[in-house]
Amino acid sequence: MADQFVGDPITPVAPTTPEDADLAALTAKSVPERLAYWRAQMDRCIRCYACRNACPLCVCRDHCIAQSREPHWMTQEDTATEKFFFQLVHAMHLAGRCTECGECQRACPMGIPILTLKKHLNGTIRDLFDYQAGVDPQAIPPLLQFKVEEANINERGW
């Protein structure tokens, strides 16, 4: 997807390991195991917000919850809970918009696999709305539109 393409197209090369191997490994764990995994990962987060700042789709700019004092969504405590809270909010904000460029994970100086969170939510969006961000410029992201009846969400069938 480009307005003007320079040079020769590169032939896609199949990755040596499946692209979603990290996500598969994580979803194979039980919920308590997953929570323990993320707590251990977030424990070394230094809250530099390089992940947020490198993200091309992060749009809150100077209204980011990480810095807002009114309302004071997050404390500045150096705890895994606070760090994970931010990452979950960040991932939720990007649900249906994240193109999985991986800049957040590459920018992380502590090597925290935060792209996995985005992959998980993208999978949910794909299953629910049959939508993949960054593929069709004409398609409207599902969370930016409203349908009275969603095809894959049974809201009134109970």
Partner: protein
Amino acid sequence: MATVKYISHEKLPQWLAALAAERRLLVPVASGDGSVVFRPFDPARRPVLDGDATAPPKAAIFPACQELFRYEQTKDPENPEHTTMQLLPDPKAVPTVVFGARPCGVRGFLIFDRVYLGQKFPDPYYAAAREATVFVTMACKTVENTCFCHWVGGGPSDPAGSDVLCTPVDGGYLVEAVSDKGAPLLANPLLEDGEAKVAEADAVKGRRPRGPGRRPGHRECPGGPAGRLRRCGLLARHVGKMHQLRGLHLPVPDLLLFHHHRRTIRTFRPTPSLLGCLHALPVHHGGVGTQSPADQGPPPENRVGHKFSYYPSLHEGLVACCGCGRCIKSCPVSVDIREIVQQAVARAKA
């Protein structure tokens, strides 16, 4: 008691276990995806001693977040509207040994010391933690291409700031007490006399780091590099790269800006936080605008200027950077602070 000892690789875990039995022992351990961080000693996790940790041991003395005091409010039963408040400060520190830091990371505390152990406003929390903590550092056998400790007065085996210095030799480490605080750690019978290894250790220490050559002195640049950077717009090119990646000063061992914030749970707990450096107020004090993501102003100017200009001008030329190179290694857009300083000095001379 000899102050030069030797410990073999085989006996090292036992020594660490003995240290951990007496006090909190922080060691560098792998923490997933190649990261190495300082964590309490766990016999099941092998310490990573062959390179510098991803994050420095700064939190041992100067945690990112710390409770300063609690308070109690008491009502007067005769006059319920009248309450008294009692502050309950708790500056006690946990006796700690930090094992396996590199000399540069520990040298960073000498920069903190001038601020937090100063005559005018000594910080009791910092002082207590400093007194209660012993640093056992590992001299570097190899030097990475991001290292520039020799620029800022240090070196791969610089003992400044360390209490015990370990130098890798064949089969183990030569262990030297550098300070009075460190000497008792060598009393453990697991450590043998190290006189026979001194020459070998001296050879390791004598290796000079390869790097970008002599550091340009801050005095070579009229007004200091920061002033020159501001005037000539030199930083604009670097800011273009790093405009959104302002938080990467957090991994460095010698950053000392912080501010207090409030949190209310059961008690009022003012806590200093290193994250204060990211917020608008201290940056406004620096006169360079806000640091919100929307304003891609020049926070690096403050960062470079503070380390290489403002601090040296206040502290007898001492550069507020330990040259660990973490900022270079961690930077996702390859900003090199050495290049900025060198270019500023070159421009000043031109």
